[in-house]
């Protein structure tokens, strides 16, 4: 079933997906947030009829358009990459995963693309009210598309509402509602969009600060800042709240990711939270390699408290998960691999029996796949079966990367909350812009949400490795069997193309900003 696999193919395929996804994610969060900010500004214009607000709306709308175009450009690859580079995955779970993608196209993309045309070209062509509606529908369309793609991603992290069909050798959907309303999906959506709103707010505040520093377009900059600061504070609070919930869900559904992001090797009650730390790799200890802290600052009991709301909660470490912990109910990976292998072999036998027309054997084996006890004892470990004869360390995600990604995101999140609160407070007091150093802080803060957003995704996606579908399908089983060289070629083509387009986007953006709201 699983012929020998060239791991460089897996790595390059993962690299290509990461490359295209990360490029795409530079532009998407700005689209998600800026579309709403523009819609707010447009509303104020329609309500007041003030020409200044029209200028403000148009300026941000222009930046939105530039950013949107490159977001679309980088997005189309992703939609098809599931097929081109992860074709085995596409079949194995396409029955569930395809639906959100189709719905995204039908419900969201058309809404976005139809009304964006009205938004840009409608100034003198449609009524003011319809034009404003188009701005709002563009914003809703953008967030609606986020719903569906995040539902799809959440399902990969926590495959619910599904049953395995051995005849088709694939998973099939049993509950659409379980898939779209799993708490992981709901939380992922909320955390992703609110953090994107925050990103766009910080962007608007930063660009406005640039105008204030140069003492240009002061009214425009102050007004833009107020709108962004209000939006930003709400978004920052929501981002932190949903992030906190997210941590609890990860601890429950993906304990390995949770242990990795805290670099927790030995499980414990009263587990402390590492506030800040630095690591080095130790290859002499098990599991090998193992990351050791050079220094760390801990908050006692905080990790246990975060998950269980009581310090006595047990947080499993990486060794508990890999080697098992009977007392806490964690089965060793060796055992899970054996059981997964049984499930895989059973499927093989079933296929063979079917092919040779051996009805009795086929029915007996088919029976197992509808027996809840057998499914729980064996099929639940299906993905582990692929690791028979491989090394256990392949089942452990990159601890260092996950730790740093998580902590970077969290520290920056705290900074954004304080920052947006200060901006809002001073704006309300009409004192924003009086302190030059604060404007510089705003300017320097501008790129930080991108770092936080990207590290968030690094944690989400690398923390679950090697699983493409959590504990059901590892990356090495999901990948399309291509020559690694083929993937390398497309990788470099995409890297070169996206880099060039990115430079173009930045240059255009900067020029448009310099021209200001008065510029053509």
């Amino acid at each position: 079933m699983l012929e020998s696999i060239d791991m460089s193919l897996v790595d390059w395929s993962r690299g290509q997906f990461a490359l295209t996804a990360m490029f795409h994610w530079i532009f998407v969060p700005l689209t998600l947030g800026l579309s709403f900010i523009v819609a707010f500004m447009h509303t104020i214009y329609v309500r007041t009829g003030s020409e200044e607000w029209k200028r403000i709306t148009k300026f941000w709308m222009k930046l939105f358009g530039i950013n949107f175009a490159i977001g679309v450009s980088t997005g189309i690859i992703l939609e098809f990459e599931f097929g081109t580079n992860w074709s085995n995955y596409s079949w194995f779970v396409g029955d569930i995963f395809g639906a959100p993608l189709a719905i995204e196209g039908i419900l969201a993309f058309f809404m976005e693309s139809t009304f964006i045309a009205i938004m840009f070209f409608g100034w003198n062509k449609v009524s003011k009210r319809f034009h404003l509606t188009a701005s709002w529908l563009t914003a809703f369309g953008a967030s609606l598309s986020a719903v569906w793609i995040l539902v799809a991603n959440a399902w990969m992290q926590n495959p619910v509402g599904t049953v395995f069909n051995p005849d088709m050798a694939r998973n099939e959907m049993t509950s659409f509602w379980d898939v779209i309303f799993s708490d992981l999906a709901v939380n992922k959506f909320l955390h992703t969009v609110t953090s994107s709103f925050l990103l766009a707010s910080v962007f608007v505040i930063g660009v406005s600060a640039w105008f204030l520093l140069r003492n240009k377009e002061v009214l425009f900059a102050r007004r833009s800042t107020v709108v962004a600061a209000v939006f930003g504070v709400i978004a920052a609070i929501a981002t932190i709240a949903t992030g906190d919930t997210s941590a609890r869900i990860v601890a429950r559904e993906q304990p390995m990711k949770f242990a990795a992001m805290e670099a927790l090797y030995e499980g414990q009650t009263h587990a402390p939270l590492v506030a800040i730390g630095a690591m080095r790799t130790d290859t002499s200890k098990f599991p090998n390699p193992r990351e050791e802290f050079i220094f760390k600052i801990e908050i006692p009991n905080a990790l246990s408290y975060m998950v269980f709301l009581t310090p006595s909660g047990f947080i499993p470490g990486i060794t508990d998960l890999v080697y098992g912990n009977e007392e806490q109910g964690f089965m060793p990976y060796e055992e899970r691999i054996e059981r997964g292998d049984v499930a895989i072999q059973t499927l093989k036998e079933l296929k063979k029996a079917k092919d040779r027309g051996d009805e009795a054997t086929y029915s007996a084996l088919r029976e197992k796949f509808s027996d809840p006890v057998w499914l729980d004892e064996y099929y639940a470990h299906f993905g582990f079966g692929y690791y028979k004869g491989r090394q256990l360390k392949e089942l452990i995600p990159n601890v260092k990367l996950n730790f740093y990604a998580f902590h970077t995101m969290v520290i920056l999140g705290g900074h954004f909350l304080i920052f947006t609160l200060v901006v809002l407070w001073l704006s309300v007091k009409n004192r924003w812009g009086n302190h030059k150093w604060l404007l510089w802080v705003a300017l320097l803060t501008m790129p930080m949400p991108w770092i936080a957003s990207q590290t968030g995704w690094v944690l989400a996606e690398l923390g679950r490795q090697p699983w493409v579908v959590y504990e059901l399908m590892p990356n090495l089983a999901a990948v399309t069997r291509l020559k690694p060289a083929a993937v390398q070629v497309t990788f470099w083509i995409f890297l070169a193309t996206f880099t060039v387009l990115f430079i173009a986007e930045i240059k255009i953006m900067v020029t448009q900003i310099k021209k200001g709201p008065g510029g053509k």
């Binding site: 530039i66 450009s73 029955d95 045309a117 062509k125 083929a486 193309t497 173009a504």
Partner: protein
């Protein structure tokens, strides 16, 4: 409502929806076709700007339809998505690349400090128009001529050639459809210019180009259509599911499904009528015939490929790996869930038409290009 339908009925329903999306996509390729005339018809800066802008208000529809076509195919026939995209890697990558460079070009073309220069973005649009249409045509032709893949017991795809799908572009049959789609897109683009542009120079050149491109389109289309009727096809034994070659299969399908035959003929007449209207009459209503005609013809071709016990994505390398509507679809449950979503499609179409009309009320001209706030 949908829950009571049989799996086969749902599979057919979804093949029809996907086919409809594919047909609308080919119609919307007028954007791509139009892009290939950027230099040929747009002789001055202003003329090129007019062309880019009249297409620029529609390009998102084509793009979105392509993405939705992919998504809907994935959701309803995941084995096709996995097999074709994973298998014919290079063809799909080339198509995708042609669309990556399109998406930025409208917005970036005339923006200050756009790094690559206006000309480069115009070339991107040209390449998108050329490659996008031609390669999609070649890829769809493999629905009738077969591809080089096999599937193992886990339905995992192996491709028999290193060219990973590009070999399809060497087959004269596939080429005939590729070139048909390319010239059809150009014809539709020209008819769209006639409908939406108010500029004498452009319209004069458009009419001239329409004649040559229509002739080439008709030649390639006839080649493809006649060849298709005469060639053997990938038939499926409905009892055993076994795939075998049947002489004149697609001709038989056409006769076996009179509705499809009528659609096909009406579609062809409408396209030809649209072209004739574009050549003979002023007013630019040719697109209203050629557009729906295109949808009808392409739709009927999809029907020939998939219905009447035919393998719609056949393997010429390993016949029994061929994909049919029955063996490549999603489960009953998923198709039912998707079918509920399909009920919003008329609503989506309604607002698209409304928005389309709102922006196209007035023909685009030089004056508008100077006065408009948002110009590509």
């Amino acid at each position: 409502m949908f829950g009571n339908l049989s799996l086969l009925a749902l599979q057919q329903y979804w093949f029809i929806i996907v086919s409809l999306l594919g047909s609308i996509l080919v119609f919307l390729f007028f954007v791509q076709g139009g892009q290939t005339f950027l230099f040929r018809i747009g002789k001055s800066e202003v003329e090129r700007t007019i062309i880019v802008n009249t297409l620029g208000r529609k390009w998102e529809f084509t793009f979105t339809t392509l993405v939705t076509f992919g998504g809907a195919f994935f959701a309803s026939f995941p084995l096709f998505y996995a097999t074709s995209f994973g298998g014919a890697y290079w063809v799909w990558m080339a198509i995708l690349f042609a669309f990556v460079i399109q998406a930025v070009s409208y917005e970036f073309r005339t923006k200050a400090s756009n790094f690559l220069g206006q000309r480069t973005y115009e070339w991107f649009l040209f390449i998108n128009g050329l490659l996008g249409t031609f390669l999609v045509g070649v890829a769809v032709a493999t629905f009738f001529s077969g591809s080089q893949f096999s599937l193992n017991e886990m339905n995992s795809v192996s491709w028999a050639t290193e060219a990973r799908g590009l070999e399809a572009a060497l087959s004269p049959f596939n080429l005939s459809l590729g070139l048909t789609v390319f010239f059809l897109a150009r014809v539709l683009g020209l008819l769209y210019f006639q409908k939406t542009i108010d500029n004498d120079n452009i319209l004069t050149r458009t009419k001239k180009a329409l004649l040559y491109n229509a002739i080439l389109f008709v030649v390639f289309f006839l080649t493809f259509a006649v060849w298709l009727m005469l060639r053997e096809g990938f038939a499926v034994n409905p009892e055993s599911g076994e795939v075998f070659m049947e002489p004149f299969k697609y001709f038989h399908n056409l006769l076996a499904m009179p509705v499809v035959l009528v659609m096909f003929l009406v579609g062809v007449l409408a396209v030809l009528g649209g072209i004739a209207a574009g050549l003979l009459r002023e007013g630019g209503n040719g697109i209203w015939f050629a557009g729906p005609g295109t949808v009808l013809v392409v739709f009927s071709l999809f029907m020939l490929a998939g219905f009447n016990n035919t393998a719609f994505y056949p393997s010429a390398y390993d016949l029994q790996s061929s994909l049919t509507i029955q063996n490549s679809s999603s489960s009953h449950y998923t198709l039912v869930a998707l079918s509920w979503v399909s009920l919003v499609v008329p609503f989506v179409l309604a607002y698209i038409i409304y928005a389309w009309r709102a922006l196209n009320k007035k023909k685009i001209d030089e004056k508008e290009m100077q006065e408009e706030h948002h110009v590509y």
